[in-house]
C-alpha cells in the first residue's frame, strides 16, 4: 500500500445465519488516504487469502454510490461517519492514523445476516412487488408531453425517487422501521398524475407488506433521514401517513 495510516478494524464475522457471530480484530497498515473504504477491505482480504484465512464477505457492486448494494455499519452509523454518501464513497481521508474502526452488518430482524457483513434485503423487493409501481403494460403509453407535470411536482417526485434501496434507514432506526423506504416510493408516485389512480390501494398494500416482513414501527425519531445517503426527507413519511389514513377512511366508507 502506498499510504501512512495504520488502523485497527473490529469486523463482524459470522459464517452463516445458523451460527453466532463475533467481532474480530484486524490490523491494516500503510493505508492511503485516497483509498476508498471498500478498497481498504479489498487489500485486507488479499492479505487474508494469502495467509490462508477466509476473506470477509461484504456486498458491493457499482462503487459509485448508486446501486445501493454496499451496506456497512461503521462506528455505529450506517455508511460511516460522513453524511449523504454510501460506504463505497467513503474515503480513508475521513479517518486518521491510529483509529479503531468497528464494522458491522445492517442490524434488523427483517434483514437476516447471510455471511459476515452481507445481509438479505429481499424484503424490500417484496414490498415493491406488493404495489410500488404504476400498472401500465408495455405499449399502453400516450405521448410523454400530453401530460404536463409542473416542475415542482416533478422535482418532488424525483427527490423521493432518488432512494437507492440500500436499507440504511432500517439499519439506523432503533425499531428497524422501513417507513422511509416505503414512503419514498409511495410519495414519488403520489406526486405524479400517472400514479393517482392507484394511490390509495398502493399505500395500503405496501404498508401491509412492510408489516408482514417484520419491520418495526415508526416513532418519528428521524434517524433514518439523518443517515440516508440520498437525503430522502422525513416529509415523505408524513405524507404517506396522511395517505394511509385517508385510504383507510375511504375503505371504511366502502
Amino acid at each position: 500500500m502506498s499510504g501512512n495510516m495504520n488502523l485497527t478494524l473490529k469486523v463482524w464475522r459470522q459464517k452463516n445465519n445458523k451460527v453466532k457471530g463475533s467481532l474480530v480484530d484486524y490490523k491494516v497498515n500503510e493505508v492511503s488516504p485516497d483509498m476508498s473504504f471498500l478498497e481498504m477491505f479489498d487489500v485486507l482480504n488479499e492479505q487474508l487469502i494469502i495467509k490462508g484465512d477466509e476473506p470477509i464477505a461484504f456486498d458491493h457492486d457499482c462503487r459509485e454510490g448508486i446501486c445501493g448494494m454496499c451496506s456497512m455499519h461503521i462506528n455505529g452509523r450506517p455508511h460511516g461517519p460522513k453524511d449523504a454518501i454510501t460506504t463505497c464513497q467513503l474515503h480513508m481521508r475521513s479517518f486518521k492514523d491510529g483509529d479503531t474502526i468497528v464494522v458491522e452488518p445492517w442490524r434488523a430482524k427483517a434483514f437476516p445476516v447471510i455471511k459476515d457483513l452481507t445481509v438479505d434485503r429481499s424484503a424490500f423487493d417484496r414490498i415493491i412487488a406488493s404495489g410500488g409501481y404504476i400498472s401500465v403494460n408495455t405499449g399502453n403509453a400516450q405521448d410523454g408531453n400530453t401530460l404536463p407535470i409542473p416542475k415542482v411536482d416533478a422535482d418532488i417526485a424525483f427527490a423521493a425517487a432518488a432512494c437507492i434501496g440500500c436499507g440504511a434507514c432500517v439499519a439506523a432506526c432503533k425499531n428497524a422501521s422501513a417507513m422511509l423506504f416505503v414512503s419514498a416510493k409511495v410519495n414519488q408516485l403520489a406526486h405524479l398524475p400517472q400514479g393517482k389512480p392507484e394511490r390509495m390501494e398502493r399505500v395500503r398494500a405496501m404498508v401491509a407488506q412492510m408489516d408482514k416482513e417484520g419491520f418495526g414501527s415508526c416513532t418519528n425519531t428521524g434517524a433514518c433521514a439523518a443517515e440516508c445517503p440520498k437525503e430522502i426527507s422525513l416529509v415523505n413519511i408524513a405524507a404517506m401517513n396522511r395517505d394511509y389514513l385517508k385510504s383507510n377512511l375511504i375503505d371504511a366508507e366502502g
Binding site: I50, G65, T138, P150
Partner: protein, 657 residues
C-alpha cells in the same frame, strides 16, 4: 454455417412496421405453456422479463446481485436519446439513425439502427407512463440536453441519475409481474452454463450464490441480457460484478461473438489515483455540454489552473474540431486527450489528465439569471453564485461525487479527467430478431453487438437496452416460439442438463483445488494491464501479437497458481470472481485476435498503422466493411464475416471538423 442476418425485405423505413404486422403470433393459451429464461435484470433484462410476462409467457429472471434493482444500468448518468424533436431543432428518426451510423463509424447494420431510432420515442412515453421522473421545464414539458456526436438536443434525463430512474421504472414493472406470479425472480443466482438440446437453447445451469447449490432451469428460449465485458481491463467504469461469463458460456456453446475488440473508452472519467484503485468513476458526458476541455499550452505547467491566463490555455477539442468542439464523439475526445498527455501537456500529479472547466458556463448561466431578475448591475461574484446554483441543479450529484473521490471542489477548481474503459460495442452476434447463432438463444442490450458499430454515441445505451427489452423482443420472439408450441417442457433430468451441471461442478472444484499462491485479483490486474497497454486506446500488430503471448502465459499461470479460499457449497464471493476472471482471460485473447485481424482504424478501434496525417482514425471500407463474427473451436476461433451494406447512407470518412 453462413451468417444470415434475417433483415426483412422492403424499404428501410417500412421494414419494422411490415415485420410487426406479419410476424407469426402465439395465441394466449399457448403463451401460458411457453417458458422463457431471462438472464440479467438491467434495462434490457427487466424490460424483457416484464413485457414478456405481460404478454402471458411464463418467465424466470436471474441476477447475481441481491436485487434486480442493482443491475449496472443503474449507474448510467447522462441520459437517453429519443427522436422526439420536442426542441424543434430539426431532429427526426432519420437523423438519429444517421448520427448513430456515423457515430459508429459505419460499422453497424442499417436496418437494426433504423429500427432503434424508430422505437426511441415510444421508450420515453413508456417510461413517463411508469412514473419515471424525467427533468421538466417550468411549463411542465419534458426537458432535453445535448450529448456528443450530434447537433440537436434529443437527450432526456433525470439529473445525473437517468439510468437509475429508468431502471427503477423497469424494475417496478418487473416486480409488478413478480407480485402477480407471472415472473419468478432468482436474485443472487449466477448463470454458469447454457443447456443446448438438439441444437436449440433449452435451459441454463445457475448457481445459488448463497447456498452454492447448482440448479437446472428449463426454458423454451433463453435471453441473455447480461451487459458488457469492460471489466476485462480490470479498471473500468463497470460495476465490480459486471462480467462476460454468461455470454462467454454461450459463445462456447455455439454463439458467435461479434466484434469483440470494439471497446468504448470514455473521455471523461476521474483519473487513477494509485495501485489500490478498484474501479473508475465516470463524469457524465452531459458535462461536456456545459464545460470546456483544456490543457496548458506549455508542457509541464504546474501552476494552479485558475492562475493560468486564457491565452496560455489550449482548448484542443475546439481547436481541432471547430464544428463539434467539446461535443465530438467519445472515441475522438478520448484519443485527443491521450495525444495531449502523451505529448507532455497533461495535468495533475500523474500528468495523465486534462481539465474540464465549468467557469465559463457558470458565468453564462449566472448572467441569464441576473437578466431574469433584472439585476443589471450584478457583480461578477453575484453572477458566479447564481450560475453555480444552476449548475448545481443540473449536475449536483456528479460534482459531489467528484469531490468525494478526489478531495477537490469542482465548483472552484476545474475537474481533472482522463479516458477510461466504459462500454463494449462488441458482444454476441445476433440477427435482426436479436437471436444468436444458437436457435432459441437471444442477446439483448449491451450483451449483443448490434447497434453501435465501432463507437457508441452517448445516451444511446439506455435507448438500446430498453428498445430491445420493451419493444423488439416481444415481437421477434414470437417468430421462434410460434414454432415451439408443440414442444413440451423438457425434464431437467435430460442428459444434456446432467452433463452441463457436471461440467460446471468440475470447473468449480478445479478452481478450488489448485491451491496456489496468487489471488484472483492478482491475475485480473495482470490481465487488465496487458489489455489496457496493448488492446486499449491505441493498438498495433506488434503489441497485439505480444499481448496474445502474454495472455496465454497468464492463463497458464492462473490454472496452476491460483488460490481460492472456502468451498463450493457456501456463499463464496472469491469463487464467483475466480470463474469470471477465468472467462475474461479467454475473452482477452479473442479481443486481441480480433483487433489484430482488423487492420484498419474505425471508431474506438484505433490501429496505429491506419491513421490520417493529422492522427485521425482511417477506415478501410474496401477491405473491412464487415462485422467480425467469431466461432469458438476447441483450440482456436474461426472468423465469419457479415458484409455491411449501406443503401440509405452515403458512407464517408467521418469528420467532426
Amino acid at each position: 454455417m453462413s451468417l444470415n442476418s434475417n433483415i426483412p425485405e422492403g424499404k428501410l423505413e417500412e421494414k419494422w412496421t411490415k415485420y410487426k404486422s406479419t410476424v407469426p403470433l402465439v395465441n394466449p393459451a399457448n403463451k401460458r405453456n411457453l417458458e422463457v429464461l431471462v438472464v440479467g435484470s438491467g434495462l434490457a433484462g427487466a424490460a424483457a422479463a416484464a413485457s414478456l410476462a405481460e404478454l402471458g409467457y411464463k418467465v424466470k429472471c436471474f441476477c447475481f446481485q441481491d436485487s434486480p434493482r442493482r443491475a449496472h444500468s443503474i449507474a448510467a448518468q447522462g441520459g437517453i436519446n429519443a427522436a422526439k424533436n420536442y426542441q424543434n431543432d430539426g431532429d427526426s428518426v432519420y437523423r438519429l439513425f444517421y448520427d448513430t451510423i456515423k457515430g459508429g463509424d459505419y460499422r453497424a447494420r442499417e436496418a437494426n439502427v433504423y429500427r432503434l431510432a424508430e422505437i426511441s420515442p415510444n421508450i420515453i412515453d413508456q417510461c413517463v407512463a411508469q412514473g419515471v421522473p424525467f427533468a421538466r421545464e417550468y411549463g411542465g414539458m419534458l426537458s432535453n440536453r445535448s450529448f456528443g456526436g450530434t447537433q440537436v438536443q434529443r437527450t432526456f434525463y433525470a439529473a445525473g441519475q437517468t439510468g437509475q430512474q429508468l431502471l427503477l421504472g423497469a424494475y417496478s414493472a418487473l416486480e409488478r409481474q413478480v407480485g402477480m406470479g407471472t415472473v419468478q425472480m432468482f436474485s443472487r443466482h449466477e448463470m454458469l452454463d447454457v443447456v443446448v438440446i438438439d441444437g436449440k437453447a433449452r435451459g441454463i445451469i445457475a448457481r445459488n450464490l448463497i447456498t452454492g447449490e447448482l440448479e437446472r432451469h428449463f426454458g423454451h428460449s433463453v435471453l441473455l441480457c447480461t451487459g458488457g465485458y469492460g471489466n476485462v481491463f480490470f479498471l473500468s467504469t463497470n460495476a465490480m460484478g459486471s462480467n462476460v461469463s454468461a455470454t462467454w458460456k454461450a459463445h462456447k456453446k455455439g454463439a458467435y461473438f461479434g466484434n469483440p475488440s470494439f471497446t468504448q473508452i470514455h473521455p471523461t472519467c476521474i483519473p487513477v489515483s494509485g495501485d489500490h484503485q478498484s474501479k473508475l468513476t465516470l463524469m457524465s458526458e452531459s458535462l461536456r455540454n456545459d464545460g470546456r476541455i483544456w490543457v496548458p499550452k506549455k508542457a509541464g505547467d504546474n501552476r494552479n489552473p485558475n492562475d493560468i491566463p486564457e491565452e496560455e490555455r489550449d482548448y484542443y477539442l475546439e481547436r481541432r474540431y471547430p464544428a463539434f468542439g467539446n461535443l465530438v464523439p467519445r472515441d475522438v475526445a478520448s484519443r485527443a486527450a491521450k495525444e495531449r498527455c502523451d505529448a507532455g501537456f497533461g495535468v495533475g500529479n500523474s500528468k495523465m489528465a486534462v481539465y474540464l472547466d465549468f467557469k465559463f458556463n457558470m458565468m453564462r448561466y449566472g448572467r441569464v439569471e441576473a437578466t431574469k431578475l433584472g439585476m443589471t448591475d450584478a457583480s461578477d461574484a453575484e453572477i458566479f453564485k447564481m450560475g453555480k446554483d444552476v449548475v448545481k441543479e443540473k449536475y449536483g450529484n456528479l460534482f459531489d461525487m467528484y469531490k468525494q473521490i478526489t478531495g477537490e471542489d469542482p465548483y472552484e477548481l476545474p475537474m481533472r479527467i482522463y479516458p477510461a474503459v466504459h462500454y463494449t460495442m462488441g458482444g454476441l452476434w445476433v440477427d435482426y430478431n436479436l437471436m444468436t447463432t444458437v436457435p432459441g438463444m437471444y442477446a439483448l442490450g449491451e450483451a449483443n453487438f448490434s447497434d453501435h458499430g465501432a463507437n457508441r454515441l452517448g445516451a444511446s445505451a439506455l435507448m438500446q437496452g430498453l428498445a430491445d427489452g420493451y419493444f423488439v423482443i416481444p415481437y421477434t420472439i414470437g417468430a421462434y416460439l410460434s414454432k415451439e408450441i408443440a414442444t413440451k417442457a423438457i425434464s431437467t433430468d435430460h442428459e444434456a442438463f446432467v452433463e452441463a451441471e457436471k461440467s460446471v461442478s468440475e470447473r468449480l472444484n478445479k478452481l478450488l483445488t489448485i491451491n496456489g499462491t496468487k489471488t484472483v485479483d492478482y491475475f485480473h490486474k495482470k490481465l487488465g494491464k496487458v489489455m489496457w497497454d496493448k488492446c486499449g486506446m491505441a493498438r498495433s500488430a506488434g503489441g497485439l501479437n505480444q499481448a496474445i503471448v502474454e495472455i496465454k502465459a497468464i492463463r497458464e499461470e492462473f490454472w496452476n497458481d491460483l488460490r481460492v479460499p472456502g468451498t463450493a457449497d457456501e456463499f463464496n464471493p472469491e469463487l464467483e470472481k475466480a470463474g469470471r476472471v477465468a472467462d475474461f482471460i479467454e475473452l482477452g485473447e479473442l479481443m486481441c485476435i480480433d483487433a489484430l485481424e482488423r487492420n484498419e482504424s474505425c471508431g474506438g478501434h484505433f490501429r496505429e498503422e491506419s491513421q490520417t496525417e493529422d492522427g485521425e482514425a482511417l477506415r478501410d471500407d474496401e477491405n473491412y466493411s464487415y462485422v467480425s463474427a467469431w466461432e469458438f473451436k476447441e483450440a482456436d476461433w474461426d472468423l465469419h464475416k457479415e458484409e455491411l451494406k449501406f443503401e440509405n447512407i452515403k458512407i464517408a470518412q467521418r469528420s467532426y471538423k
